[in-house]
Symmetry: C2
Subunit: 440 residues, 2 copies
Amino acid sequence: MRVYDVIQKKRDREPLDEAEIEFLIRGYTDGSVADYQMSAFAMAVYFNGMSPDELSWFTSAMLHSGDVLTLDEVAGTKVDKHSTGGVGDKISLPLAPAVAACGVPVPMISGRGLGHTGGTLDKLESIPGFNVNMTTADYRRLVRDVGCCLIGQTAELAPADKKLYALRDVTATVDCIPLIASSIMSKKLAEGIDALVLDVKYGSGAFMERLEDAETLARTMVGIGEKMGKQVVARMTNMDQPLGVMVGNALEVKESLDVLHGHGPADIIAITVELGAEMLHLGQVAATVEDGRQQMRAVLSDGRAARKFEQIIEAQGGDPRVVEDPSLLPATDKRVSVKAAKAGVVHAIDAREVGIASMLLGGGRARTDDVIDPRVGIEVHTRIGDAVRAGDELFVLQVGDKGVTDAVARLEACLRIEDAPLEPPSRFGARIDHAGSGPT
Amino acid sequence: MRVYDVIQKKRDREPLDEAEIEFLIRGYTDGSVADYQMSAFAMAVYFNGMSPDELSWFTSAMLHSGDVLTLDEVAGTKVDKHSTGGVGDKISLPLAPAVAACGVPVPMISGRGLGHTGGTLDKLESIPGFNVNMTTADYRRLVRDVGCCLIGQTAELAPADKKLYALRDVTATVDCIPLIASSIMSKKLAEGIDALVLDVKYGSGAFMERLEDAETLARTMVGIGEKMGKQVVARMTNMDQPLGVMVGNALEVKESLDVLHGHGPADIIAITVELGAEMLHLGQVAATVEDGRQQMRAVLSDGRAARKFEQIIEAQGGDPRVVEDPSLLPATDKRVSVKAAKAGVVHAIDAREVGIASMLLGGGRARTDDVIDPRVGIEVHTRIGDAVRAGDELFVLQVGDKGVTDAVARLEACLRIEDAPLEPPSRFGARIDHAGSGPT
């Protein structure tokens, strides 16, 4: 078999078989297929797509390019959640403990933030002592004993995906739905889960701005799951503006604790309840999604979710007292306000700019080796559709020792205030599951 | 400027400007643009093509990626010929001396053979003492003093093309007309020529089998020439079967000498006369192409072309006596015949297989570092449309010390003999010049 022929077939829209796709990915993993061949293949996929069969073989080959974790010894249906990423998206933090508290094991492997997006691991590390670096054995133990873990990669999961992801980033093949879908699914399915809930973002602050594109991505991922024998449900959620109020690491933990105590911003609660309901349903502890919603609301209001989070924190070396005493989280006492320059109605809040402003304060990374300041961030005190008066406080920056001028300038420019009234965007798009998924 | 954006624009069918294309090629030449980026770009070009403007900038950037030769001190309109390659294609050997003998300077830089195709340099080196390795100064001197040179690359011409050519070969982007056209034209126009005649092959033995594809390639190259202010004429010639009788190095020189003496196979004479007539016309020594034909016929029959070849050979260190005494060429006395197994009419002769058979005997290279045996090769004693009887001698192999069994097997299998009579294929397709060239 020659890689030239595999590339040429994809270029010429001829179907590839499983052996050809395995040959390609195995060769790419061991270096016998060069980057310049893989990038030509990726560009051909950009133009010609992949069939559902090809996509499942491709995902499976990437998944098997490294370690594949197993959780067979853990009873129950293991369910994880993956979000395509948004500014202020701290949903994992209240969601995982809440779902685990209802009896569904949640083995959650997360990443770090880069650029305008934050990372779950960075947020968790603002909890004093919290350790996200665990072995594969720890992973199994935590899921078995605590019902949940919130950790970074334990083993080399899907190294072919890691290489391809970096390659796409420099060859204009990032925004290619089959490649995005297989990248996400190969990493998630290497975790040893049984089912997966996807939070697929759309809107001005999302990677896929257009709802139709986001739905195609969702359908593609659900389709891959189906081909690979995993239950996958996707929920489309709006990212026209930052999620919740808080953007930043300790700040987002604090907001998550509010949610775990039955409070917090309405959008965070709503998304946590919806995604949790799907996870409980997939995890077979809720007969229907509506039953799942009721269980989620109960567990968030009666303290069980908060207790579960304490257990998780303790099991991972952190100080569980933060759950009842958020003042133990790192904080800064320097605050800077950004006020409305004129009266009107908020028509747009550029979530990406808010994320970059938080990064500039030290809350995120411009480069992968930047060190994060967990204390800093931005409180977003306005939403699309709000009527504001001149001088209203729109953003409060919790600042450390850098980036204030730049961050303020960006926040001042990131709002669009107009005269006309505006209906706030709806929070949810479609729900996509196996029954509603079509070919890509 | 970022190479990502250049690739993305091509991917998204947005026009590239000259600065972007120069940035891409300059970066590729100096290594700041990686192979994996160039291969993604090449694949995007495969799908989206290049506009005439893009193509001329791309060609120009490759041309200027290395040394650009000048022949300004040589009087007259310098004209070269390029063929897209065929088995038995020794046209350069009689053509260059004949055209030079008519007063048009012919600075001809040729290549070596690989796979089923032979190379002009390899053929010339079968002339005892003939030296194709010349400096840039030699190049100018030969063209000025002798009116012709037949040499290999003197300087680093179009290194970007060299890199891209090798890259395309392993990324399934070989058969892409804009990339083929710019590759050929960048090398040829770096020679310092004023005009160019292209011999674009079509038919079963050609790289472009379909006449329409070959015509598109021809129009594309003529269009590049026009944009770059060079006169370019393309002639389409048939490659359904090997050209002439001889395939092999010394054998092809011998057949070329026949032509230079007014003899030789009709197809070789016809193509030599046609291409020469175009060169004389472009070189402004023939008022019309028809006048050029007459001059070509005259110079081939009255000995002037043969005398010119003697001068060239002498100037390049070879033994000019071979022109009148071909027995001075290396030869083998071992001959093997392939005979017709049955009676019928020849419907097909697979030129590629004949080329590979010659290569297997040692007449060509499977790898670039293989050493050639100049003595060996194949005489093709049948043409499409010929009626043959069982036992007729169809091929004579002039063999050395290897490859005989394999070569015989391939030759036995490369003919298709059927009962129905068949009209021989026409030798020429269209003539394409500036007036007849359209956008690619």
